[in-house]
């Protein structure tokens, strides 16, 4: 059986010469829920952007058994649902419906099917009554949920989330954790919210300076105060 995500010796430098990733390797099994933690500038977002081929570094990446290449790019982008930190970047259409329909339309689905997908995705995040709303007038928590719906409508195998709980009030955060907990997909979540990690994600990868410095069960890593402190983290 293949892994959901298999990253081997991935290195990447930004055009200004900054080396963001310096030989990252890990693999994630189907259905596994993994946290990606580490200080600011550790390379977490850069790593996420590699998973669907937005950034292309050296090394190899395979998603759902398919090696990432020009030919598999389309398939991989619809297999990896990428949710960005700022929902205002993710919600670029005029209405919620248009945004959630964007992915399925580009997957080439017929209109009737797209409508079903949108309906399902919005129901899953509890926002079915917001379809006709204009994204600009939604609250932060609602935007976040709809941002997740925009990728659920593509029925991805993997969800990659960048800072899903940042900027949310406690109730919106709680609702979001409950929502994520109920989703069956493989998950890779980049975050600073270690309490959420403990609750939701059984495995943790700590990234620092473009390297994987620890990879193991969350319960173990989050109970190692020295390790956490050495990488700019705090025990939850």
């Amino acid at each position: 059986m293949h892994h959901s995500i298999e990253v081997t010796e991935l290195t990447f430098s930004y055009p200004d010469g900054h080396r963001a990733l310096r030989g990252v390797s890990f693999s994630i099994a189907p259905g596994e829920k993994v946290a990606l933690v580490g200080p600011n500038g550790a390379g977490k977002s850069t790593l996420l952007l590699h998973l669907n081929g937005i950034l292309r570094g050296q090394g190899s990446i395979a998603v759902c058994g398919q090696p990432l290449s020009e030919a598999t790019l389309g398939a991989i982008r619809s297999a990896v649902g990428m949710v960005f930190q700022d929902p205002d970047d993710q919600l670029f259409s005029l209405t919620v419906f248009d945004d959630v329909a964007f992915g399925p339309i580009y997957q080439g689905l017929p209109e009737a099917e797209v409508r079903v997908r949108v309906e399902q995705a919005l129901t899953e995040v509890g926002m079915a009554d917001r379809a006709a709303r204009v994204s600009h007038h939604l609250s932060g928590g609602e935007k976040k949920r709809i941002a997740i719906a925009t990728v659920l409508s593509m029925e991805p195998e993997i969800l990659a989330l960048d800072e899903p709980t940042s900027g949310l009030d406690p109730r919106a955060r709680r609702d979001l954790i409950r929502l994520l907990g109920g989703l069956p997909m493989t998950m890779l979540v980049s975050t600073h919210d270690l309490r959420m990690v403990r609750e939701l994600l059984p495995r943790t990868i700590i990234l620092d300076g473009g390297l994987v410095v620890a990879d193991g069960p969350t319960a173990e890593l989050l109970n190692a105060p020295d390790l956490l402190q050495a990488h700019g983290l705090e025990m939850p």
């Binding site: 952007l49 669907n52 937005i54 389309g74 982008r77 619809s78 990896v80 990428m82 960005f84 700022d86 205002d88 970047d89 993710q90 670029f92 259409s93 005029l94 209405t95 329909a101 964007f102 992915g103 339309i105 580009y106 997957q107 209109e111 797209v114 994204s135 600009h136 925009t150 990728v151 593509m154």
Partner: protein, 244 residues
């Protein structure tokens, strides 16, 4: 659109036609429940642009009406020029009113759908859509920048001997700050556009704009449109025959 076209094609001096055209806009304003005052107030915003036509008053050759010196020049107001200027002003005023009625009664989304239905290129329509969506995000961002400036624009409690210097800095310095803010806003907008593009790519965007096929226009709307177009055509023809 057809209305604006008719307005701009109506010949010079066909005043009765303008009155009729105006009555069409007025009735649309009243029927849509916007109120005439609302539209007029907004239309006055566009009036300064009509000033661009002011030189016409002096440059159109014709019967001299008034002459006065301006420095070493001798300016001549001609009747024809005046007529032409009045025409431009009225035309722009009528067109702006029509545009305001459209924009205030129709949701932007429906406007986009309509644009799509009349076969305006999809890329252009998509750009309008993105512009509309991010205009507000950008305005919010500008407001945040301005708030941050206001929050730090305090006046220090100072000893009396320093009280002569004005708080707020020199005009040049403040200009520099405002320029910096504008630059900052631009950079943020560019960054955001990058992130949006990445978000679009992640969901399969491949450089081609796709959307559902546009809905067919209901027959009722077609009839209304035809009647409207016929009426406008009639007005234009009348104007052309009598005053053209």
């Amino acid at each position: 659109m057809a209305f604006i076209l008719t307005v701009s094609l109506t010949p010079l001096g066909a005043w009765p036609v303008y009155v009729l055209l105006w009555s069409i806009v007025l009735s649309a304003e009243i029927l849509s429940g916007l109120g005439v005052g609302y539209v007029l107030r907004r239309a006055s915003l566009a009036l300064p642009f009509a000033l661009a036509a002011l030189p016409l008053v002096f440059t159109t050759p014709g019967t001299p009406w008034l002459q006065f010196p301006l420095g070493s020049w001798q300016l001549t107001l001609t009747l024809d020029g005046l007529l032409r200027f009045a025409n431009v002003a009225v035309k722009s005023w009528l067109s702006v009113q029509a545009a305001i009625v459209l924009a205030s009664t129709t949701e932007f989304r429906d406007l986009l759908l309509a644009m799509r239905a009349v076969r305006i290129p999809r890329l252009l329509v998509a750009m309008f859509g993105l512009m509309w969506r991010y205009l507000f995000v950008l305005v919010d961002e500008a407001l945040r920048l301005m708030r941050a400036r206001a929050a730090r624009s305090g006046i220090a409690r100072r000893p009396p001997e320093a009280a002569r210097s004005r708080p707020g800095g020199s005009l040049a310095w403040r200009g520099k700050v405002a320029g910096g803010m504008a630059g900052n806003l631009f950079l943020r907008a560019v960054d955001r556009s990058d992130r949006i593009y990445v978000a679009m790519l992640s969901r399969g965007y491949d450089g081609e704009v796709r959307s559902f096929a546009s809905r067919p226009v209901p027959p009722g709307a077609r009839v209304t449109l035809a009647i409207g177009l016929a009426l406008l055509g009639l007005l234009w023809l009348g104007g052309l025959l009598v005053w053209g």
